[in-house]
């Protein structure tokens, strides 16, 4: 089971934040096929958000094929969803941890590390176009 976190000031619609958190949890293997998502009742009681927001998120996840709503029972992660291969995730995580340690040692703060990472990931940035 996972717990959702919602940031109303982020500019990202609340339902989308829930969708993204489920997708991420599934990819990283935190949620596995057959796992049940928290019930709408539990989510809204904890976060004080509108039940329709959660229903909209779960509907979206159903449409994407990430989850499957079973009437009267709950919403479950589907079989055969694309999780990242666990072994690869573990290796990538370790190497990234090493890279971050390296970057900190070189004097980069979190914001600079984030900017550098975003720069590499996004292909449209000026430096990657120039190189």
């Amino acid at each position: 089971m996972i717990e959702f976190h919602v940031e109303t000031r982020s500019g990202v619609p609340t339902y989308l934040q829930i969708v993204q958190q489920v997708r991420r949890a599934v990819r990283l293997g935190v949620l596995r096929p057959g796992d049940q998502l928290p019930t709408v009742k539990d989510v809204v009681a904890g976060l004080a958000i509108n039940p329709n927001t959660v229903l909209k998120a779960y509907r979206e996840l159903d449409l994407e094929g990430v989850t499957e709503g079973r009437r009267g029972i709950g919403t479950f992660v589907r079989e055969h969803v694309d999780a990242l291969p666990q072994q690869d995730v573990k290796q990538l995580r370790t190497s990234l941890q090493k890279w971050v340690a390296h970057a900190r040692a070189a004097g980069l703060d979190d914001e600079m590390i984030g900017a550098l990472f975003a720069d590499i990931v996004r292909p449209t940035t000026i430096s990657s176009v120039a190189s």
């Binding site: 109303t8 000031r9 009742k41 009681a45 976060l47 004080a48 509108n50 039940p51």
Partner: protein
């Protein structure tokens, strides 16, 4: 749930002496919605809620709650409506058990198991005296009384204004949990916009005893834009879009508009806005062009 609107008014007005506390109020709030009633003190929020539960009688116009008249159909309507008034009127010297007993005696519909299990899940004991509870706990007890009626509509007048952020979150969480279970409609008045943004799907802005803006919250927020550009006479923009609020420096104009489709004029830098921006724009503007537009929007 039925499709009967939880609240429908037409030219509703309430006058105390020579002062109108609410007037020209025509609006419809659909079944099962969670509606924020927003506006400064004295805007008419409490008046509207009191009319809705038959605590006062309208001077003019029509009012239906769940399809019924709060005045003529009191006996059938009131068991279906839960109401928590602004000051959370509880007897301070009563224990929680006595408070629940009062609820059981005074209400024709009453779910005692629900009331007791709610009190227990709040970590409270039935023997505790109401006056010794914290503000947040008292609010939860008052809410329990309203929920134990198993209402189809819950009305909350400034339920969280006096509570700290954690107690506010817990209170609204309890309300949302009950909504998830029952699908009941909720109308709550408040001026804490951040809380309402998480919770509500419909919006009514009241100002100076009149409704300024009514509708589904997402749509209303989405159709408003902040336009920033070189100093201009807003009249050009106002021909197409409703200018809600304007401010100017010698070089620059900022306009909050309710956009009528796309804004094509490229001299404007367009910004999306949040609920708070929209609310402030409407409330910051009293007798300007917005008022006319808004009245159209309300209809």
């Amino acid at each position: 749930m039925s499709d009967v609107p939880v609240l429908r008014t037409e030219d509703l007005g309430k006058r105390y002496g020579s002062t109108w506390a609410l007037r020209d109020c025509s609006l419809e709030i659909p079944a099962g919605s969670i509606t924020a009633l927003l506006g400064p003190n004295g805007a008419g929020k409490t008046t509207l809620l009191q009319l809705a539960v038959g605590l006062s009688r309208a001077t003019t116009g029509q009012l239906e709650v769940l399809g019924l008249s709060p005045w003529a159909d009191q006996e059938t309507l009131l068991p279906r409506v839960g109401f928590v008034a602004q000051e959370r009127p509880l007897h301070r010297s009563f224990t929680i058990a006595e408070t629940l007993k009062l609820g059981r005696v005074l209400n024709t519909t009453w779910d005692d198991d629900l009331a007791v299990s709610r009190i227990e899940s709040l970590g409270l004991r039935l023997s505790q005296t109401v006056g010794k509870l914290s503000g947040g706990q008292q609010a939860q007890v008052a809410l329990t009384l309203a929920l134990a009626k198993r209402p189809d509509l819950l009305l909350l007048d400034e339920p969280v204004a006096s509570l700290d952020p954690l107690a506010r979150r817990e209170f609204l969480g309890t309300v949302m949990e009950a909504v998830a279970e029952t699908g009941m409609g909720v109308i709550l008045s408040s001026h804490i916009v951040a809380d309402l943004e998480r919770v509500c799907d419909h919006l009514v802005i009241l100002s100076h005893a009149r409704p300024l803006l009514v509708g589904p919250l997402d749509e209303l927020v989405a159709c408003h834009r902040l336009l920033i550009g070189p100093r201009t006479d807003p009249a050009t923009v106002a021909r197409v879009h409703a200018v809600i609020h304007e401010s100017h420096t010698d070089r620059q104009s900022s306009l909050m508009v309710r956009a009528n489709g796309h804004v094509y004029d490229t001299c404007w830098e367009q910004h999306e806005v949040g609920l708070e921006d929209v609310v402030l724009a409407y409330l910051g503007q009293r007798h300007g062009p917005a008022e006319r537009v808004l009245e159209e929007a309300v209809r």
